[in-house]
Every structure is written in C-alpha cells, then in structure tokens.
C-alpha cells in the first residue's frame, strides 16, 4: 500500500462518428497508446507507430469478455480498492489499511504499548493476519510483521499512524 498518489496520465477523448470513441494517452515510455471503444462494446487496443504517429503499429481487438479479463490482469481491482478507500471518507472519518513494514518497531509490540490512539487519534479496529481477519483486537494484541492493520479516524490521524506503522518513523 505504498504510494497512494495514483498518477493518471492525461487521457484525450476523440469522437469517431458512427464508430465510437477513442481514448488516447502518452505512456511514460514515450509510446502513444489508445483504446477505441466501439458503439457495440468491442474494444481495440492501439499503439502508435513511432515513425508515423498517425498510424497504429499494433491493433488488438477485444470482445466484451476479453476486456474484462484484461482489465483484471492489469490490476483494476487495486484501483477499485483505492477508490473505495477514498469513498469511505464520511463526516471527516476515514478507514484505511496499513501494512506493518518488516523491521518496524511496531512489530512485536502490543497495540497498547504502541500508544497509537494517544499519539495519533486513530483507532485500530481490526487486524488482518495471513488473510484472516481479527476484528476488534484487544489492547494487548501483539502486532507482527506483515499484519494488515485496519484503522479508523480523521484522515490526518491516519496519515500519522501510517508514518508509525509503515514507514517506522
């Protein structure tokens, strides 16, 4: 969960009357990529020729199901997690997931020893250990390397908690 600022390139939208809409952007590699969404739902992935930037050097046509498979492979689920996190900001209270970084002082210490609520104002409401959730952990619950801590609190408090648990500050 490092790097919460998702850098999204500027996507340009070009309408193709009778065909659909083409969305194009410049990749960091310098390649120009585009997705052509047909009115009938088909999609084409296009990459432009470096010598002739008006022409496509490769065109891949995807059916509706192909598109879903590919977007899954490209990690659309991560994106939706980020979106879900942003949407959980209600009435100034947010929820976040923080992973205990290996070698952090937090690992091996109980929640009460860390004095997290006193220091930051954020509360640990659950811990996910090896995929299994531990809801409402006791204050003497000992955090370990690789635990995923679910915390609630104002966004600023969560940021401070993240500093403590993830970046060992």
């Amino acid at each position: 969960m490092v790097g919460h600022t998702v850098a999204v390139s500027e996507v340009r939208e070009i309408k193709l009357p009778g065909v659909g809409v083409r969305h194009e952007f410049d990749a960091e590699s310098g390649d120009q990529l585009a997705v052509l969404v047909h009115h009938d739902g088909r999609r084409e992935i296009l990459s432009y020729d470096r010598d002739d930037p008006d022409a496509c050097s490769s065109v891949v046509t995807l059916s509706h199901d192909d598109s879903r498979t590919l977007s899954e492979l490209l990690g659309a689920s991560q994106v939706s997690e980020e979106v879900a996190e942003a949407q959980h900001d209600v009435d100034g209270q947010s929820i976040t997931w923080i992973k205990i970084a290996p070698g952090c002082s937090a690992a091996g210490r109980s929640i009460s020893e860390g004095e997290y609520r006193t220091k930051t104002g954020a509360s640990v409401v659950a811990v996910i250990r090896e995929g299994a959730p531990v809801p409402l952990p006791d204050p003497d619950f000992t955090l370990l390397d690789g635990d995923l801590v679910v915390a609630v609190g104002p966004a600023s408090a969560l940021d401070e908690l993240r500093q403590l648990l993830e970046f060992c500050a």
């Binding site: 340009r12 193709l16 009357p17 083409r22 052509l36 010598d51 002739d52 008006d54 022409a55």
Partner: protein, 398 residues
C-alpha cells in the same frame, strides 16, 4: 396483385424475383471473396444483362421498380441511423471548412463537365452531386478492413462523410424541387417549400426523436422492424407528396431514432436494406442504354481521374487541418476517392431529364471506376514510405 393473378403469372413472377435475388447473392459472394463491396458488381451486372436482353423481366417489373425505390429509402434511413444528432453537430462544428473545400473541389468538375458536354444546367448540377459525394458505405468498410479506425487521420475522414450526409439533406430536396421545374417564381417557391419542409422534419426529428424512439421500441424484433419500416415509408411518402425527395424524409427518420431503438433498428433493417438496395443498383444500370456507354467512357474516365485527384486533395487538406503527417494525409485523401451508392441515388433523380440517359451512363461508369479503384489506391498509398519531417500534432484533436 400477385395472389389475385392467375397462377401462371404468379409462378413466373416468383421465378423472376427468385432468379434476381440469387443473381445478387452470387455477386455479393464474389464481392466478399474479392474483399470489396458488392455495389460495383451489381452495377456491372445490370449493364451486362440489361442491354443485351439476357434477362427479360416482364411480370415482376413493377415489383422490382418499387423494390428499388424502397431500397433508396432504406439506404438513406440507415445512413441517418448511423450518426447521432450530436455527432452531426460536432462534425459540422469541427470540420466545416473541410466540408466546404470538399464541396467546391469535387462538385465543380462534375458541373463543368456537364456544361462542357452541352447539357442543361440541372443535369450538370446533378453530375456535380455524383462527383461530390463519397461512398460512406465503401469508405467505412475500407477503414475497418484496413484496420485504420484508430488512426489519427480517421476522425477527419469520418467527419467529412458526416458533413456530406448533412449536405445531402439539403441538396436532394433542392434538386428534387428543381426537377419539378416551372417558371422562376414557381421554382423558387418549390425550393423554399422543400427546404422549409426539411427544416420542420429536422427540427421535429431532433426535438421528438427520443419520444419516437421510445414509441417504436417494442419488446419483439418483429414489432420494432415493422414499426420502423412503416414510419420510414410514411414520412418518405409524405415528403415526396410535398415535392421533397422521399429519401431525405427517410434520412431524417433515421436521424431521429436514438439509443436502444437505434441499435436494434440498425441490426434489423440492414438485411432488409441489402435486399432492396441490391435491386436498386441492379435496376439503375438495367435501364441504361448500352449505346450510351461508348460516348460516356471517355468523359467518365477523365472525370474519374480528376475526381481521384480532387478527393485526395480534399482529404489531404482535411487531415492536415488536424495536424496529421504526410502519410496520414495521403491515406485520408485516397480513402475518400470511392464514390458509390449516393452518386447513383443522385443520378437516378435525373433519369427523366432530357440528358438523363447520358447522365446515368456517365454516373455508372464513374462510380464503377472510383468504387473499384478507390480502395485499391488507398491500399497502395499505405505502402508508400514517405518519411518527411512530420508536423506536430495540434493539441486539440477532438
């Protein structure tokens, strides 16, 4: 009425129509084997069989003529269906100068040729229409076949087609009114009435398009198809009776439909259109007198050569306006060369004029050359490796 006629008449009509349809089927099969649209083959078959009297059609003549007329209506209807009103507006807004260049460069050679041949003004203006309008059917098929839909010059090509279609909505009723003729005052009146009618139908189509779509949108495909077919013919008939071309009425109905009704109508009407439009193309050249062909060949060839050059220039200009490079501009120019269905529709309007027979022969030859040559030329243009210093893309492409 076929059913009321004697059984031998009905049998003959069935055989004639069946033979006709099978003939079209074979041509369409050959065309798809060759990777081209079937229109040139239909025209060629009509020329070969019509003049030589190889296929004499008596009983079903009326039926075939009516089917051909319906074919024109359905062609225009599906054309209107293809673009939404928003796409038309955006196309017009962003590429209007290109549309203007398109009209001037491509209609002028036709008009001038007609006048040089000593025709009256009206058939010359119709010939201008024949040389002006590109075939959106052939071009959109070529774009897809050549994998060019995502290319950067393609929006300018598509927008030109959109503008030409809109221009047809004005051009067709005006020439239809001119064909009716009369004194100057009468002609002006019919033109004004024609344009007003188009304006009213267009406004109604844009305003009540949603309601019409909702009204026609039935659960069953059958009901939707019949509803759409009925409304198209009704509006076309009403427009025709007001001396406005019925084809424009059909076009505007297509334009009015939107959303789900539009998508399903496209899928349902397309096969019906292919049946009727095939008949139309075949019959167009059926009626051409073969003795008109030799005299049409030379002007048609010259006109086609000029038309290839002027369309290439048009596309070159249009793509250049949107910042395409040399290769893109060349591709955009050459893909626009193909003329087809609408050139024939325009020429068919003038069939009853004094110079109508010559116009038909010239238009058929012209369309044959450009419809077959266009896709070949643009495929060839792709292979020309032009590597000139490229221009920077304009920032706003949309």
């Amino acid at each position: 009425m076929i059913l009321a006629a004697g059984s031998s008449d009905a049998a003959l009509a069935f055989i004639e129509i069946g033979g006709l349809a099978l003939g079209l089927a074979i041509l369409s099969r050959i065309a798809s084997r060759l990777g081209m649209t079937a229109v040139p083959l239909y025209l060629l078959a009509g020329l070969i069989f019509g003049g030589g009297g190889l296929a004499e059609i008596d009983v079903s003549q009326d039926f075939a003529e009516l089917a051909a007329e319906i074919g024109v209506l359905l062609l225009l209807f599906t054309l209107g269906l293809e673009y939404s009103d928003v796409e038309l507006r955006d196309g017009l807004r962003s590429d209007f100068p290109s549309g203007l260049v398109d009209m001037v460069l491509n209609a002028a050679p036709g008009v001038i040729t007609g006048l040089v041949l000593g025709w009256e003004i009206l058939p010359a203006v119709l010939l201008g229409g024949v040389t002006w309008i590109s075939s959106s059917g052939i071009i959109s098929k070529s774009l897809a076949d050549l994998g060019r839909l995502g290319f950067r010059e393609t929006p300018s090509v598509l927008n030109l087609l959109v503008i030409e279609d809109l221009a047809m909505a004005v051009y067709l009723p005006v020439v239809a009114a001119l064909i009716v003729g009369g004194t100057v005052a009468e002609t002006v009146t019919t033109v004004v009435i024609a344009l007003a009618t188009v304006g009213i139908i267009l406004a109604a189509a844009l305003r009540y398009g949603r309601q019409l779509s909702r009204l026609l949108l039935a659960e069953s495909d059958e009901a939707l198809l019949l509803g759409v077919f009925g409304v198209t013919l009704l509006v076309a008939g009403a427009a025709q009776s007001l001396e406005v071309s019925g084809a424009v009425g059909a076009f505007l109905v297509g334009l009015a439909l939107s959303g789900q009704a539009e998508e399903r109508a496209m899928r349902l009407v397309s096969p019906l259109r292919d049946v009727f439009a095939g008949t139309f193309f075949l019959f167009f050249t059926f009626t051409i007198d073969p003795s008109d062909l030799p005299s049409a060949a030379l002007p048609a060839s010259i006109l086609a050569a000029v038309g290839i050059a002027t369309k290439t220039l048009t596309g070159w200009y249009a793509a250049g306006r949107r910042g395409a490079g040399t290769n893109g501009r060349l591709r955009a120019g050459t893909i626009l060369v193909a003329r087809g269905e609408f050139s024939i529709v325009i020429a068919a309007l003038g069939a009853g004029l004094v110079d109508g027979a010559e116009l038909g022969a010239l238009a058929a030859t012209y369309v044959l050359i450009t419809a077959v040559g266009g896709p070949l030329i643009t495929k060839f243009a792709e292979r020309i490796p032009v590597r000139l210093p490229r221009r920077r893309r304009a920032p706003a492409e949309a």
